[in-house]
Structure formats: C-alpha cells, structure tokens
Amino acid sequence: MKDFEQPVLRVSHLNKQYGKGCASCRDAGGMVLNKNFCPVCATVYACRDITFEVYAGEILGVVGESGSGKSTLMQCLYFDQKVSGGEAYISSYKSGRENIFTESSQQKRYIRNRMMGKVYQNPVLGLKMDFSSIGNIAEKLIAAGNRNVREMEARGKELLEHVNIPVYRIKEAPRNFSGGMQQRVQIAKALSNNPPLLLLDEVTTGLDLSVQASVLDLIKQIQRRLKISVLIVSHDLGVIRMLADRTIVILDGRIVEQGLTDQILEDPQHGYTQQLVQSLLV
C-alpha cells in the first residue's frame, strides 16, 4: 500500500566528497569534522548519505544554508560532478532498473539530454552568453537529437515567448539581458526537450523581489501545465513555501528533516529547521 505510485527519480545513499579523506575523518563517522570539513586533510564532505524520491508531477523543495551541499547535489544528478558513492534511478531510463551513476558517459549524455533540464544558480554555467538566446535553445534541441532547423526555430520561439522574452529580442545574446531574463532563458532551454525532470538551482537568488515573483509564477505555471517533476533548491524557505509540495532540509551535507511543506513550516522537528522557520517569520 505504501508504494501506490512509482517515483520518477530515486536517489539512494548519494555521497560526494571533495578530497581523498584521511584516517581521522574516514572512520570517525563525522566526529572530527568541522561542519562538513575535515581540518586534518581538508576534505569537504559536500553530500552525505542523501536518500529521497521525486514523484510524477510534484515539486520537491531542497532547503539549506549556504555551503550545505545543495548545488553539489544538483551537479551530481546532472552529471556535472562524479559522485563518490550512491545510486540514482530514473523511471523513464531502462525502466528505472539501472543506476545512472555507473552508466557510460555516452549513456549519461543521453539521459541528460533527453530526460533532464537544469537551471544553474549561475547563468554563466547554464548559457552560452555570446550565442543568441534562440541559439542556446537550439543547442539543447540538437543535443537531444533534433535536426530540423525550422522546427527548432519554431520551438525556441514558442518557449521564449512562454517565458516572456519579447520576440524581437530572441536573437540577442543573454549577455545583454538582465538577471531575471537570463534565468528565464535558462528555464526555456531546460524545458526545450520536454524533460520529465527539471532541476532548478536557486533560480531566483539575486533577483529583485518583483522579478523573483514573476519567475516563481512561471515555474508554478509550467509545472501545472506540463505536469513535470521539479526538484528545486533554495536557501530561501519563502521560495520553497510558495512552490514545493514536499521539502527536504539539509545541513552540512546531510538530510536532517523531510516532510510535507506545511509540516516543515508549522511543526518543524529538527532544531535547525526551527531556526530556519524562525528567520522566515522575523
């Protein structure tokens, strides 16, 4: 009865460390670590034993302070970083039976191009700043196997219009755009291959409030209309409150609490979550 539905993405025991580790941090179970950092060998344990699922059509929020490992988690899922350990399964890839982390790099590219879209915290990482905006989208479409130029142009135009980039500016390079516009081009690009899974890393950070609101609106709209699953990372619980059905709280690379978003907000169990919620109230 517990499994009345199958997850779109299942992540289990994901670990990511930067550095080799040493005798004192490897076996001590995190005892000598300063937050996620080993003072002896300078290894960073960015993600530790991360396990969660994302279901069809839901928005799952990931919240945590700066340096807690949120972007690292997203990078691992999008194959921008190699994991140190753990598994992940995508239901639309080999019926969710193969651990995508151990697939060949060719297969990983296939998964990334066809089954995922990602919006980076830093637009410079997600966009070719000197390409035209529509060219950025075409790039993703080509990677996903498209060859028909007319079709790609139509699709790019439609997507950019959808994220409110005026038609007369779609040939412009994102370099010329404001932060909010760059994020919207990233969102259009991420959606171009109709991915079942959208990864959003701090999409609204650094944008002014009204622009933030319009980007959040856009995400909600997209998720409703396209019914795709979204994993959204933010250090801002306000963003998570607005968007997420369920929420994961991470601290120093570990999940300290997960639950329904209203439960996380109204009855936080962990001391750290309580602190986060309090800071939202004042």
């Binding site: 439960q263 109204e266 602190q275």
Partner: protein
C-alpha cells in the same frame, strides 16, 4: 472499520529546541465519527482544537496515538504513519480543510483557484472550468469577483471562496476550523446555511466553533477540550 475516522490515544507536544522547552498540546485524545456525521469540537482558546485538526491533516506530527481514516482509495490508513505522498493524495481527493485564513498563491484568481482544485484531481480542463463556475455560483460569490485576486476580498468572501475550493472536490471528510471567526452576523448566517446544506448533502464534517450557540441544533455530537484533554471521554450526544 466502521467509522470514517477514529482518533485513538492521540498525544502531541511541541519541542522548542533552542529554548529547551516542551509545550503539551494534546493528551490521550479519542474521537470517532461515522460517515455523514457533523461533530463539533469546542473548548477555550488554546485548548488544542486546531491541533487535533492539524494532526489529522498531518500539518502536525503527533508523538503518540493513531488516526485511522477509512480511505476510499487505500482502505484504512493511519494518518500519523501514512507516506507523505499518500497524505498528498488524500488532501487532493478525500480530505478538505477550511480555515478562516486563505492561504493562496498570489496572482491566482478566484476562478483559477477553484479550478485548480479540480485539475489536481486529474480532471479535464473544461470540466474543471464548469465545476469551478458551478461552485462559485453555488456559494454565491459575486460574479464580478471571479476573475479578481482574493487578496483584496472581504472576510466573508474569502471564506466562501475557501469553502468553494474545498467543496469542489466533494471531499469525504471536511474539517472546518472556526470558519465563522471574525465574520459579521449576516455572513455567519450565510455560513450556517452553507453548513446546513453540506449536512443535507451527506458530507462528513468536523467543526470548531468559537460561539457554540451559533451552531446549536446543527452538530450531531460534540466533544469538549480543556487543556489538551477531552472533558468527557465520550462525546455528548445532542440528539
């Protein structure tokens, strides 16, 4: 199970970590309801009424006890242990919650809001539109308000929208948390009529009401809370 919902030995306290504090909210609560019943929960402010509802809705996580709900989809489920996804399903399809507060996405019109309730049950766009309009008309929300944003609505209008949003799903169990608080007398009467109508339609409801005499002759049974405990172990039968 015979009841639609059975709260058994429910206890809830809040731990405030940075203050090293415990707040006792509920102690050994037992409540059972049959389908089609309308049960009232009364008690002074702070006695734990909303906490009971929020435990049922899983906004709060109780420490002890179980809440058995007889789901159409899953059969008997213990709401304190059900998976998050199951709870989300039940919220979308079977259990409604109405409070005096309207917690909504900004820049969503009244019509969109109600329609959304139908869409998330997996129904088609035009069906959702039709149902939403029917509900808004049914609960007599002024037509001119349908396409405006609820942030500017009056208390009574928000409430009617809230109820429309919950009722458009035809929930099997509806939780009403002080729906008449801060309303003027006429608006309260409208709510009372709404509730009478829902009773006639056979909706199972649990309601918290500040001014009890206002709900007189409406509740089938009533439980009273004092300091997080039931005053009598069994509910007072009002008929």
């Amino acid at each position: 199970m015979e009841e639609i919902i059975a709260v058994e030995h429910l206890s809830k306290y809040f731990t405030i970590h940075n203050l090293g504090k415990h707040i006792e909210a509920l102690h050994d609560i037992n409540i059972a309801m049959k389908e089609g019943e309308f049960v009232g929960i009364t008690g002074k402010s702070g006695s734990g009424k909303s906490t009971v509802f929020k435990c049922i809705y899983r906004t709060y996580v109780p420490q002890r006890g179980s809440i058995w709900y007889n789901s159409k989809k899953f059969g008997p489920v213990n709401l304190t242990k059900a998976s998050e996804r199951q709870v989300i399903y039940l919220r979308k399809h079977e259990i409604g919650y109405v409070s005096q507060f309207l917690n909504v996405m900004p820049r969503t019109t009244a019509r969109e809001l109600v329609k959304q309730g139908v869409l998330e049950m997996g129904r088609a766009e035009d069906y959702a539109e039709w149902e939403a309009e029917k509900m808004l008309a049914h609960f007599e929300l002024d037509r001119e308000l349908w396409d405006s944003y609820p942030a500017t609505f009056s208390g009574g209008e928000k409430l009617r929208l809230n109820i429309a949003r919950a009722m458009v799903k035809h929930p099997r169990l509806l939780l009403l948390d002080e729906p008449t608080a801060s309303l003027d007398y006429t608006s309260k009467l409208r709510v009372r009529e709404l509730i009478e109508q829902l009773i006639r339609e056979g909706t199972t409801m649990m309601g918290i009401f500040h001014d009890l005499e206002f709900m007189e002759n409406l509740c089938h049974r009533e439980y009273t809370l004092r300091d997080g405990k039931l005053v009598d172990r069994a509910a007072v039968n009002l008929y």
